[in-house]
């Protein structure tokens, strides 16, 4: 699988690359009829979410996604998924660990979120609430190493998938 674009987590004024998909469990419950489709192999989930931790709670605050319909590609937003909560949604369905990468690239792996970076910030969530945080230092990047999360290559999927 191609390396995947990360989502974004806003934490204490910092914009972090989020390498976990907390919306996936919600979509799997079938609570929404909206389905996202991938336009590129670097984003199989078909959407890009911006999350925020406010008052020790995890919120989905922005969403840009795409769905393929017989009429063509349709853009999706947070308001499509949660019509009554266009400004933010409490992610109470999520329990687990969020992984945010920080610093320079140490080793690039062209698959999933497998690349390693100087630091990993793990945030433990229980039913949408932050219960613990830990920072893991993986090493120090080379002076010329790429700063921040990156995906080296992707392929558009829209031309080879027929309806």
């Amino acid at each position: 699988m191609t390396a995947q674009f990360s989502e974004t987590l806003l934490l204490r004024g910092e914009k972090l690359s989020l390498c976990t998909e907390p919306l996936a469990p919600y979509l799997e419950t079938g609570a929404s009829r909206i389905r996202f489709d991938a336009e590129t192999t670097a984003c199989w989930r078909g959407y890009d979410g911006t999350w925020a931790i406010e008052g020790k709670r995890l919120y989905l605050v922005k969403l840009n996604g795409t769905s393929r319909t017989p009429a063509g590609w349709v853009e999706r937003s947070l308001a499509d998924l949660f019509p009554d909560y266009p400004d933010g949604v409490f992610a109470h369905w999520y329990t687990g660990e969020l992984r945010c990468t920080k610093g320079k690239l140490l080793k690039y792996v062209h698959g999933g979120y497998a690349s390693s970076y100087e630091q990993d910030l793990f945030i433990e969530i229980v039913r949408g609430e932050v219960v613990a945080e830990r920072l893991v230092v993986n090493g120090v990047g080379a002076p010329d190493a790429t700063e921040g999360y990156a995906v080296a290559a992707s392929t558009s999927t829209s031309h080879d998938l027929n309806y």
């Binding site: 919120y59 909560y85 949604v89 109470h92 329990t95």
Partner: protein
């Protein structure tokens, strides 16, 4: 009549072998037909093959295999017949309950609807979740409730991470409609 040499007997041996192998091949192709692939699988295999570079090594192996099989044709025929006599391996369609995350061993306790809804209370100080049982999943909860039939009972379940890694890759908690210890429907309210 010309004297038959050992070479003549080798020719006869190879000719009989070629005929026997050809007959076996035709029998397999026309009588023992492999199960037809679905259009989806056919298209997918064609797409995979189109993306792969031509495999000269596989072709070379096939070309070498034919004279080798002919040289030891009695053995080839024996192997072919024993393969034909093996029972066909068929894909077992999973039973409907195997599609659920919750399996019998994950059922923890019977519970009433009111108790379940109490477990699913969601409150958010910023008002970013509906103050309803299971919050944003309330619609899915009601869709689950209407699946109840007279002889169904409601159970609370937990799929631990070690089980989830094998079957569904995620640990989860939820409720299931159960009949005779078999899951009939499920509602997941927490996943990791």
């Amino acid at each position: 009549m010309a004297q038959w040499t050992a070479l003549h007997w080798v020719d006869v041996y190879l000719a009989v072998g070629a005929c026997a192998l050809l007959l076996l091949r035709l029998y397999v192709k026309w009588v023992v037909r492999p199960p037809a692939q679905s259009a989806f699988v056919t298209e997918m295999m064609a797409a995979i093959r189109a993306e792969q570079p031509y495999d000269w090594r596989a072709t070379a192996k096939s070309v070498l295999f034919v004279p080798l099989a002919l040289l030891v044709w009695p053995l080839s025929i024996g192997v072919g017949i024993s393969e034909l006599r093996k029972p066909a391996t068929t894909y077992r369609e999973p039973s409907p309950e195997e599609w659920f995350r919750c399996q019998r061993e994950h059922l923890r306790m019977p519970i009433s609807t009111a108790e379940a809804e109490k477990m699913g209370v969601v409150t958010d100080p910023l008002g970013r979740a509906p103050a309803l049982p299971f919050g944003h999943l309330n619609g899915a909860w009601h869709s689950f409730l209407v699946k109840k039939e007279d002889d169904f009972s409601l159970w609370y379940f937990e799929v631990p991470l070690e089980n989830a890694r094998v079957r569904h890759e995620r640990a989860c908690r939820g409720f299931a409609w159960v009949k005779a210890r078999k899951v009939q429907a499920e509602f997941v309210f927490e996943t990791s």
